[in-house]
């Protein structure tokens, strides 16, 4: 058995098998939030989605939003910058927890 078969993305609808209404609400919300120009362009949304896909390490989303980025006019340079934003946020988020560590060190009388 293989995990993360790329063909499974096309079966996304099947998740609604036992809860069609909720799945429809999700897709309506998802398509409105990501798939249409709004205050942000579709390209900006695709770049954000690509960054989030990397943070969440979802192979389906990475495939899908790589294509979405290209089809909305983004180029590999912009896409790479987007994942660096994600990576730097992740690094920063890890490092800011160092303050929690310092607080704990203080409580332990070690700082």
């Amino acid at each position: 058995m293989e995990y993360y078969d790329s063909k499974d993305l096309k079966r996304f609808n099947e998740v609604g098998t036992f809860s069609k209404d909720l799945m429809k609400k999700f897709f309506d919300y998802y398509n409105a939030a990501v798939g249409e120009d709004g205050a942000l362009s579709k390209r900006e949304k695709a770049l954000i989605a690509l960054a989030v896909s990397h943070v969440k390490q979802c192979p389906y989303c990475i495939d899908s939003y790589t294509t979405q980025c290209l089809e909305s006019g983004a180029d590999p340079e912009q896409m790479t910058e987007a994942i660096h934003v994600a990576a730097s946020l992740e690094a920063g988020i890890t490092l800011i927890h160092g303050i929690q560590m310092h607080n704990s060190l203080e409580r332990n009388g070690a700082l």
Binding site: R43, L70, E71, S72, G73, D75, E77
Partner: protein, 345 residues
């Protein structure tokens, strides 16, 4: 009622490219769309398959090794057709690099004398590279185009080097920029000159193009910022799943995915505006086709049991013909549509 709507499902014509799973006639049938020719206002001629470039996506399979050239007799016959048919307002020259046909300058100047609007699908780099076989310089082209008030339509896949060189070959972007600057010097693309310079964008790989409007704004902003380049319009076209690009899709294992994407993006409004309704395409050997893609697939227009050519040209028969469709036609009807002049919807 249109010709297609009266057909029963079982009567849907077979796909002309023998790919029933992507039969274009089925889409027309399901949406009750008929697409007869409306008029012939553009004569597009593929006057040579010789090119100084070998682009990844080229549906003509053009390259420096190709030898096909339209001869002088055929060139003169095309001029006779232009003269005799006032409905045909435009001459659209393509290739290969059309400038590499030895009769190119003659054809352009004579067509201009006939008051025809002349468009040239100019790859930009031929001005810098010259003729790859004879070494003849083509540096005169920007001035020649200005003198003859030619509309210059040039492929530029992106406003950055990476995508452009990936699709069109190493060094193409830099040479293209040099060539565009020469055209700008002649007044092309500048307001008030009447000299039109339009660019063509097509995706570098197996994906659909972004919106024409947003890409045009990006191209204008970035090319002006970096190089002070000016141009009129950006035409966005979809890559046709035939010949070299089809082979690339097959190599990537992406052919079916790409075709499914095109089929799912079928847009009836885009279909209404397909270019084959108002254009005919002539090959270097004088045969007439519904479009340049049908030409490359050798889908001859048959009238009176023989292929239509410039030598048995008949406007009435052509405008009353049935356009032949194949699976590749989904490329022209996906999303906002695609034609030699950009989107169709």
């Amino acid at each position: 009622m249109s010709q297609v709507t009266v057909l029963k499902q079982k009567d849907v014509p077979l796909d002309r490219t023998h790919q029933e799973e992507y039969n274009f006639y089925k889409a027309l049938f399901e949406k009750e769309i008929d697409l007869p020719p409306t008029k012939i206002e553009t004569l597009q001629i593929n006057i040579t398959k010789l090119c100084n470039q070998t682009c990844l996506h080229c549906h003509v399979d053009a390259s420096p090794k190709r030898k096909e050239q339209m001869d002088l007799e055929s060139v003169n016959r095309c001029l006779e057709i232009l003269e005799a048919n006032s409905e045909i307002k435009n001459l659209d020259l393509t290739g290969g690099a059309p400038e590499l046909n030895p009769h190119f300058n003659y054809l352009v100047t004579e067509a201009r004398k006939l008051q025809k609007h002349v468009m040239v699908r100019h790859n930009l780099t031929v001005t810098i590279d010259g003729n790859p076989v004879t070494g003849e310089s083509k540096k005169y082209l920007p001035e020649f185009y200005a003198e003859n008030q030619v509309e210059v339509i040039s492929s530029l896949p992106y406003y950055q080097e990476y995508f452009t060189d990936k699709q069109r070959g190493k060094g193409v972007f830099e040479k293209s920029i040099d060539s565009i600057l020469l055209l700008n010097q002649q007044g092309f693309g500048k307001e008030g000159t009447g000299l039109e310079l339009n660019f063509v964008y097509n995706p570098v790989g197996a994906f659909l193009p972004a919106s024409q409007q947003s890409l045009e704004a990006d191209f204008k902003r970035e090319l002006h910022k970096k190089y002070e380049i000016e141009f009129n319009n950006l035409f966005v076209i979809t890559n046709m799943p035939i010949n070299r690009f089809k082979q690339q899709l097959k190599r990537l294992g992406a052919y079916d995915e790409y075709m499914t994407k095109l089929v799912n993006a079928f847009n009836p409004s885009a279909a209404e505006g397909v270019m084959c309704r108002s254009l005919i395409s002539v090959s270097h050997d004088g045969r007439i086709y519904d479009c340049d893609f049908n030409q490359m697939l050798e889908m001859d227009i048959i009238t009176d049991h023989e292929p239509m050519t410039i030598f048995n040209f008949d406007y009435g028969k052509l405008v009353n013909r049935k356009i032949m469709f194949g699976s590749h036609c989904y490329g022209c009807t996906a999303g906002s549509g695609s034609s030699c002049g950009g989107i169709t919807a």
